[in-house]
């Protein structure tokens, strides 16, 4: 458990289609390329690779939140199908692939396990004619990586509290905030990405 966050996800080789221009060794970047292939080419092979990485984690995440194994399996399958269905809405200048999949898995948990509706803000998609700036994508993905490292570096008790919160194990009264994590930088990045997006939406 302790070493999990620090584990580099580098067991998959870098995406061939992307060349060396981008940060070659952060695999978050790699997953972004996978989602692009799914979005643009409906690439089932890319989806299968994404599935092999995330499905066991999504299922574990749901079980940590109290779901039984069969229910977690079922919810995970629905969540992964949603990843395919909503791929056009993924914005890599505002979220890492793991973050985006987390929000989908969390929403399934609320829906199926808590049996409540999940009110979600309006979507802010890039239109077909505009895409996020590639540098913004790279920095956001790097920032997400840094945040994962910061989480791994938290004192164990504190880190477990944060994990429990996201597993849905703490009541809203018990959650103070994501204590001690440097969220300022990633927030500013996302803020800038939003401004650019708003500009294109005008």
């Amino acid at each position: 458990m302790k070493a999990t966050y620090a584990r580099p996800n580098g067991r998959r080789k870098a995406s061939k289609s992307k060349g060396k221009a981008m940060v070659a060794d952060t695999t978050t970047q790699d997953w972004v390329a996978h989602l692009r292939r799914i979005r643009d080419d409906r690439d089932q092979a890319a989806f299968a690779e994404l599935f092999r990485h995330f499905a066991p984690r999504v299922k574990a995440f749901l079980m940590k939140g109290g779901a039984s194994e069969p229910l977690a399996e079922e919810c995970m399958q629905e969540a992964m199908a949603t990843v395919w269905r909503k791929v056009d809405l993924f914005d890599p200048s505002r979220a890492s692939v793991a973050t985006w999949i987390f929000t989908i898995a969390r929403n399934r948990r609320i829906d199926v396990i808590r049996k409540e509706r999940r009110p979600e803000p309006e979507d802010l998609p890039w239109g077909p004619e505009a895409e996020p700036n590639q540098e913004d994508v790279v920095s956001l993905q790097q920032e997400s990586e840094r945040l994962a490292q910061a989480l791994a570096a938290l004192p164990e008790k504190q880190r477990e509290l944060v994990e429990q919160a996201y597993f849905g194990d703490l009541s809203h009264g018990e959650i103070a905030e994501a204590t001690g994590l440097p969220l300022g930088t990633i927030k500013s990045r996302i803020r800038l990405a939003l401004e650019k997006l708003r500009h294109t939406l005008k």
Binding site: F54, P56, M63, Q77, T99, F102, E116, D123, S144, I186
Partner: protein
């Protein structure tokens, strides 16, 4: 985008919303505010990214052998999702529009007195959320909030002891805050308000019933 929002969500609410543990009534107010406020959207995205790190770092469990095949089968028959975007120049953004079933003209108002109207929206849980319509210059009628109350302005503005609240502004009040919001002169003030106290009944019969069922 619009007039500047000066009153925002706090980290505790955003965190609980991100973790998925905030009750639906409050989540509706949080999500509607985020639709109007890029500052809070960025903060929420940042907080979500911690969830992404947690998910990515969790110890894997085995999935069923036919898991991938089943999902591939599911996606074969599914259409791509379209973005949920409210049309331009509407007063009610998503997700509130979906709860109301349209824009302001679709709200099923009930008179409360003094020109004030309300419409309770349907959510799960013991918390409640309602739309409020307060004519310009009119004070919000007596309402109890034993615990937390979130009020989001969607049209017009109100003032209370704390400050002025305009479109997109959110007031977070607990039971300590003794306030008497008054709608600004001019266009009616329309708000979305959630509270974790049960509905405040004023009549005798409901009060007895309330004691009886313990709400």
């Amino acid at each position: 985008m619009q007039t500047e929002i000066r009153h925002h969500l706090n980290d505790e609410l955003l965190m609980a919303y991100s973790a998925g543990t905030l009750p639906e009534a409050f989540s509706l107010v949080v999500a509607t505010h985020v639709s109007l406020c890029d500052e809070c959207r960025a903060r929420l995205d940042a907080i979500d990214s911690v969830g992404g790190a947690v998910l990515n770092g969790v110890d894997e469990v085995d999935v069923s052998e036919d898991s991938l095949d089943r999902v591939l089968k599911m996606i074969e028959s599914e259409d791509r999702a379209l973005p949920r975007v409210a049309p331009k120049h509407v007063t009610l953004p998503e997700p509130l529009r979906s709860y109301v079933g349209g824009d302001v003209d679709a709200v099923k108002w009930r008179r409360v007195g003094g020109g004030v109207k309300q419409a309770v929206l349907d959510t799960g849980g013991t918390e409640s959320v309602r739309m409020l319509y307060i004519p310009g210059g009119v004070a919000v009628p007596d309402h109890t909030h034993g615990g937390m109350e979130l009020t989001l302005v969607l049209q017009g503005a109100f003032r209370d002891e704390v400050d002025r609240f305009g479109r997109g502004d959110i007031e977070i009040a607990d039971s300590d805050l003794d306030h008497q919001p008054v709608a600004e002169e001019g266009e009616p003030c329309i708000c979305l308000a959630a509270t974790d106290a049960p509905l405040a009944f004023k009549g005798l019969v409901p009060r007895i019933a309330q004691r009886f069922v313990g709400i």
